[in-house]
């Protein structure tokens, strides 16, 4: 039961909001937990055992890690340094050392088990196929994967690491943990919530988000806005994308650009649209979820793009992979050595490379067991390192030419350049295997045939002129919305200031736009959520 399906929107969600609203406040988190588990069962049936198992596991391990950690003083590192300086072993530190080792071991075991489950369920076949290519003959068992496994595993690991680093106390409210990783709107596609984002709302430490009638209306309209992106634009593009990427013949020339642009637009409309539905759904039950998109197509660099696209994944990787590695002794030592030998610039590059490599390999692999996802990660790794490599040259260029780097022209150029980077990345990401992706790149300038953009070729991709019209007009509407948001103009706030008839007219217009222009019913098939497959 996807968030875009009628049973969710017309039955599950209204029923949940109704039950939540009449439920005594004290019991709301319990109710939400059972509703969330119910939703999970509807999606993955008996695979709920994985989710409940993970909840119980991190709940217990969190408390244990927290307890062991309590016995380690804040100044433990300083005491160790003092001992090292003095050269004399301090017997008083021995039990602390043991406790620290236990603390560390508990964290490691928990993280290994959590990632182990993910690896086994999702990647066994992939690794077996890699080994088979190298000559082995393994038959990998096929596992049923519970919905949202990749998402809730990251949430669980994040929570354990926060407790281990003593940034938060271990949660003693079981339902708080259950909702942290199992809250129903997040089940399929995130956002990847961190303890600090949502847990306090679930456990009642902070007052639940107040729901006024205006907030409810705004949340419902956000859901419709998300549905507009999903079923008016993304679902129509799905046919085109399937034809271009999965057809018997791979496209060439200008059709490769069409493929790259169409898939990027589809992915953005679908993922950001579903985030609107998810965030709107959560707000209906008083929970504020973190935003996952911030007008990514106005980014001027690849790194900025990743701060605006799938924000919660980027933030997770930054906090739990990048920073720990960048702050590790190995990274610091390497920085020192390179600085001595080759200077500060080279040291910065070396430390960045050390910290960014696992981040981007993880990012690629997290999306699924396919080589092109890994190469997608490597693609961004190379680009981000290149950004740093050419940094001095770029500064020199602007200084020499006198071009105003903050000017509108330069900004537009950088935005368009980032688009090329994004479209190329998504082409590789969506390609039907790595070979197909490389083949498409190589065929970009083979028989370019720009006339295919207007000679009717686009009408042979499974949709007609009217569908293209809906896609283009829909995309223009979303682009204008994003443009206004980027410039600081909030349409939602503007709407709330309008008189009721005007506001309602806008609401009806949006609802009817979704119903009339939606790609559903005769001639269309339901499109599964893309990110739910990752």
């Amino acid at each position: 039961m996807g968030y875009n399906e009628i049973p969710y929107l017309l039955v599950f969600l209204p029923l949940t909001v109704l039950l939540y609203s009449i439920c005594p406040k004290k019991l709301r988190k319990v109710l939400l937990t059972f509703i969330s588990w119910g939703y999970f069962i509807l999606c993955s049936r008996y695979l709920i055992v994985y989710l409940i198992g993970t909840t119980v596991f991190i709940y217990c391990m969190g408390i244990r890690i927290g307890k062991v950690g309590e016995g380690i003083p804040e100044n433990y590192e300083i005491l160790l340094k003092k001992e090292k300086k003095s050269g004399v072993k301090d017997p008083a530190l021995t039990p602390l050392r043991k406790r620290k080792a236990l603390h560390h071991a508990l964290m490691l075991i928990t993280v290994i088990i959590l990632f182990g489950i993910l690896l086994v369920l999702k990647y066994t076949g992939f690794f077996a196929s890699l080994l088979n290519r190298a000559g082995a003959s393994l038959t990998a068992p096929k596992f049923l994967v519970p919905v949202g496994l990749s998402f809730y595993t990251l949430e669980a690991v994040g929570y354990i690491l926060e407790v281990y680093w003593k940034r938060i106390p271990a949660e003693r409210d079981f339902f708080g943990i259950a909702l942290l990783i199992g809250f129903f709107p997040q089940t399929m596609e995130g956002p990847i919530a961190r303890y600090g984002d949502t847990a306090k709302q679930f456990t009642g430490e902070t007052k639940l988000f107040e729901r006024t009638a205006e907030d409810m209306a705004s949340a419902i309209m956000r859901i419709f806005w998300g549905m507009f992106k999903k079923i008016v634009i993304a679902d129509r593009l799905n046919t085109v994308v399937a034809n271009l990427y999965d057809g018997s013949e791979l496209p060439h020339g200008v059709m490769i650009i069409v493929a790259a642009v169409c898939y990027t637009v589809q992915l953005y409309m679908e993922f950001s649209g579903m985030m609107d539905v998810v965030i709107g759904s959560a707000r209906l039950v008083g929970i504020k979820l973190p935003e996952n998109f911030r007008q990514p197509f106005f980014s001027q660099t690849a790194s900025e793009f990743w701060r605006r696209w799938h924000i919660t994944l980027g933030a997770w990787l930054k906090d739990y992979v990048f920073y720990p590695i960048a702050a590790s002794r190995f990274s610091k030592d390497l920085g020192k050595k390179v600085r001595k030998k080759s200077g500060r610039y080279a040291a910065k590059l070396a430390t960045s490379a050390v910290a960014l490599t696992p981040v981007w390999l993880f990012n690629g692999l997290w999306h699924g067991p396919q080589l092109n996802y890994i190469f997608y990660g490597i693609y961004y790794l190379v680009l981000l390192l290149l950004e740093q490599v050419i940094d001095p040259a770029r500064d020199a260029f602007y200084a020499k030419t006198g071009i105003n780097r903050k000017g509108k022209g330069a900004a537009l150029f950088r935005i368009l350049r980032t688009w090329v980077i994004i479209f190329s990345g998504e082409l590789l990401f969506r390609a039907n295997g790595l070979k197909a992706g490389i083949h498409m790149f190589l065929n970009l300038f083979h028989d370019f045939g720009i006339s295919r953009l207007w000679d009717g070729s686009l009408l042979t991709l499974g949709i007609d002129g009217a569908d293209w019209f809906a896609i283009v007009m829909g995309t223009v509407v979303v682009f204008l919305y994003d443009l206004m948001t980027e410039r600081g103009f909030s349409i939602r706030e503007c709407m709330s200031r309008q008189k009721t008839p005007v506001r309602w007219a806008c609401y009806y217009a949006l609802i009817f736009a979704v119903i009339i222009f939606g790609a559903y019913g005769t001639g269309y098939s339901t499109v599964d959520l893309i990110y739910a497959g990752f």
């Binding site: 009628i6 729901r211 006024t212 007609d464 002129g465 009721t500 309602w504 119903i515 009339i516 019913g521």
Partner: protein, 330 residues
């Protein structure tokens, strides 16, 4: 901070929803009309049968025929009219699911008071998932009540040119291809085995029986002659099902000779569906059997009110005469 449960908010919410439903109804009516006028329109494809059903004059249909592509291919209302003088409507679609069938029958009972519901049994044997099936029934019900959800794509014809479609004869589409079945050796070989019907389909069937009883409609089951889809296992199951509910069951697969089927001329696609010639024979035979089973089925042929049917039947005969001769090699 305002509470969401204050009276004013409640009143406004109700008002908003009432206006929304009213708007949906108004737009639905407009779309149904536009769709009816635009007979060749793309949007009709799978939905044409709904437009045609709603478009029938109230309480003028004596027999509703439902089923999947088997019923679509083998029931020609004008042939039944010629044979026995009753009016009929094929509320059937290719790849029709039980979950779509029940809401459609409900819809037909809202505007018509038929005496008989003739049920082609093939769709009973497709699998229906309980949860997805329930959802599909709900979706179909919503779409049947708010037709905007069926005809929302009508705006597309302003932009895209419309594809030509075959003309229909009281919702029957003439198909003249002939592809005989390859092998009839195993067809209806004696067996005492049974083919299982999934629980969800049985549940829906049970609801259908109750719906018919409530509306005073006689439910008659039939299995069309189709070597590709039928055998003794299904026959045994259906015979038992009909006995359990006390229903008439006509299995044409056991009466091929009485129907007059010639597999060399009457099969559209290797024994899966009937072509025009087969449909003519099947409809005529079933019309006679229905008259036997339900003697009070009216004969309107002398009724002025139904002159349209007689006129169309004449035109239909003239239109198919050459096709029939060619198919039958006469």
């Amino acid at each position: 901070m305002k509470n969401i449960f204050n009276k004013r908010a409640f009143f406004r919410t109700v008002l908003f929803l009432v206006i929304l439903v009213a708007l949906l109804q108004i737009v639905s009516q407009i779309m149904v009309r536009l769709s009816d006028e635009e007979g060749k329109h793309n949007v009709r494809m799978r939905n044409y049968i709904y437009t045609d059903l709603i478009g029938q004059e109230k309480d003028t249909i004596d027999v509703i025929v439902t089923g999947d592509s088997e019923a679509v291919a083998d029931w020609t209302p004008l042939r039944a009219w010629e044979q026995q003088g009753f009016t009929s409507f094929p509320a059937a679609m290719p790849a029709f699911w039980m979950t779509e069938m029940l809401p459609m029958v409900r819809l037909s009972f809202r505007t018509q008071k038929p005496k008989v519901l003739l049920f082609e049994t093939n769709m009973l044997f497709s699998y229906t998932d309980p949860i997805k099936g329930t959802v599909k029934i709900a979706q179909s019900e919503i779409r049947n009540r708010l037709m905007i959800f069926r005809f929302h794509n009508i705006w597309k014809h302003v932009i895209s040119p419309l594809p030509e479609q075959d003309s229909l004869w009281k919702s029957f589409r003439v198909r003249t291809e002939v592809v005989p079945p390859k092998n009839l050796n195993k067809y209806m070989k004696p067996s005492s085995e049974k083919r299982k019907i999934c629980p969800m389909n049985l549940l829906i069937f049970d609801q259908l029986v109750k719906l018919c009883r409530k509306n005073g409609v006689q439910l008659v089951l039939y299995s069309t002659a189709a070597p590709k889809n039928y055998g003794m296992r299904k026959h045994n199951t259906l015979t038992e099902l009909a006995e359990r509910y006390g229903l008439t069951y006509i299995d044409l697969n056991t009466q091929v000779d009485q129907v007059g089927i010639n597999w060399q001329t009457d099969s559209l696609d290797m024994g899966d569906h009937m072509n025009l010639s087969g449909a003519q024979k099947v409809t005529a035979y079933l019309a006679d059997r229905l008259k036997e089973a339900v003697p009070d089925l009216p004969d309107h042929r002398a009724d002025e009110k139904y002159s349209d049917w007689s006129e169309q039947a004449e035109a239909y005969d003239a239109a198919i005469a050459d096709d029939l001769k060619e198919i039958r090699g006469e």
